[in-house]
Amino acid sequence: MTDLETYRDRARMWLESVASRFGREARMGLSVEEDLALGRQYMAARHDAGYAGINWPAEFGGQGLTHIEKVAFDTEEMAFGMPTGYFGISLGMPVPILMRYGLGEASEHIAWVKERVLKALRGEEIWCQLFSEPAGGSDLAGLRTRAEPDGNGWKLNGQKLWTSWAQYSDYGVIVARTDPAAAKHKGLTYYWVDMKAPGVEVRPIKLAGGDSHVNEVFFDDVRLEDSQRMSPVGGGFGVAMATLMIERYVATDSGGFGPHLDLFVDLMRKLEINGRPALSDGRVRSAIARNHAMRAGLESITTRAMLMMQAGMEPGPEGSLNKLVSVRSRQKLSEMAIDLSGTGGFHFDPNAPQKQDWGSSWINAPTGRIAGGADEMLLNTIAEKILGLPQDHRPDKGVPFNQIPA
């Protein structure tokens, strides 16, 4: 048995030992606030057990292991339905970026950063990522939130949109425009912001499925010290890109973050189509087989990427296919599961978990196809970055931002 397998087994054993306190069953029927409180307890327990910040340096309260152990643990943890969702973005992008770009020179500041990182790891504090804006959509560099020089610091004004978990966040990382006269990619600067500071207002947005984990965030003359700046003035776009690149290696899910194909098969075992067992119908068999082949391919891509990382190689770009392919197929498979259920298909629980419930998987699928890169954007990225095809026509390229017609 390899070290990795040993690590994986020990992790699974610990997860099983706490599953009854924090797992899927324990969370049934909790309000969001109760679930978040339970989540904070789990994060603390996870840190005590040595499974937090697995691939982060020990000096920041991490375990100093590699990405391999991290993915291995995440994969095991996913099966238990632990209340980790509230901390995923916080520990996924903003906090790592803080460690990388937020240290500065002053030792007391470094100490302050280490304190933030530790509290984030233990679920005591949450960080959000303030990128998207009403006018922006898929066009990050089109953002309009302004940071103007204000004495030895900055003054922040504007509005962000689709900020996940902002209503529970203590801090956030934000990109703002500091030079409206520069080309749109050139006039941006990157900061961290105190979400409890005066002038910050958070308004939750209710989504199609009924939940409200995303928010509008308004900034009205919010004061930023220059020590909160995490990029050179005008160099914010690069750090923003670095933030998004981190998402690339986050644990993938060939099921498109919806139910496992086994659940579809189990459902079909119970159903009939025109008096015959659903599983013997060619249309159902085709759906199962095609989804199996697609998911198996995505899983092989992920496994090979991990083997390459273990061998110290850079994985291929095909990893970027996962979300595009898997979420799109999950949407149609969920529709089929509901439709074939007949009278049972109408039953709906807005709070049911997307990975167990077909109704919840279906109603939230469009969000999955848009959040974190819309299908069209992912296709453009593949075409341009991997295949070297030309960019779309971009009338805004090189034009001073304040001269682009709104």
Binding site: G137, D139, G142, A208, G210, A278, G342, D396
Partner: protein, 364 residues
Amino acid sequence: MSMLYDEGHEAIANESRRVLDARMDKGRLLRLLESVGEYDQAFWNTAVEQGWSALAISEEHDGLGLGLVELGLVAQAAGAGTAGAPFLTSTYGVAHAIENSGDMSAKNGWLPRLAAGEVLASVAFTEGSSPLPTQPSVRFADGKLAGSKDSVTGGLKADIALVWASIEGAPALVLADLAAAKRVPVESFDNSRLLADIDFSGVEATLLATGDAAQELALDVLARMAVVTAHEQVGGAEALLITARDYALTRKAFGQPIGAFQSVKHRIAEMYGLVEIARANCIHAAASAGQPDFLVAAADARLSATEAYDTAARDCVQVHGGIGVTWEQGLHLHMRRARTLAMEQGNMLFWEDLLVEQITGVAA
């Protein structure tokens, strides 16, 4: 049969669209999603006031004596506004069954009140995944029913139900008075459909048809309701097509309207194709009611209209990006309705099999 709409048809289409545009309210529909047991009373009042409940009922029974073509136009207008929930279709189905049964007292007793909208009717055919099971588990004997049907559309508030049952092993179509029925509300993603699990045990019912006659009439009722639903789906798909088009013209990204990007542009053009093909099938099916090829025409309409509405719901949201998945913006009203209408009157596999059996004679 093919036909063109005449001035009378255009008038019905425009008037129903005008009235609903004026009276429908997205906020009201959004609130209805979150309460089990409520439906869009305002729409039904409008339907009654406008005579839509009487549209397809014969004049001798206080109806307007029009047919599927006219009702289809109203359903299309209702579909555009995700209105119509849930009695427009079921009342028509029940009335058609009564009109075509030999039962004079049922005709005289129910049809005028259905036309006047005093009585709400629903159709309880489905069991499990079969829209018209060969051996219905609900049994009829001595004027009373036994057994239950789940997730019956409109079942929570309907006064009467047209029930697909069996009588001594043979299929039967009966009319049940729901006053004494035990009903459990079903929480669904489209709550204004008033879904209920209905326990018919001990409920009094009238026999409308048995055996082959019942089979034939039930299939005719199901196909006619499917054609009304198909019009509703085309109305919804067309509304989404227009919404996507308008958004693509105004929303800008990377310095130009997103409608200038072929991925958006072609997606919307494909929507147009699906809508027009479904519309043509709907007109043909409505005009073919009562003719030998009606079941085939109804299946063509049902399949193409469901594909059009489902695709339009997926793609219109996708074209909108983030704003498209917000509760307030309300595109999910169409997403939810598209799913509901894809399931009511039977799923696509049922209709594919029915169509193929009709044209090849080979059963699934």
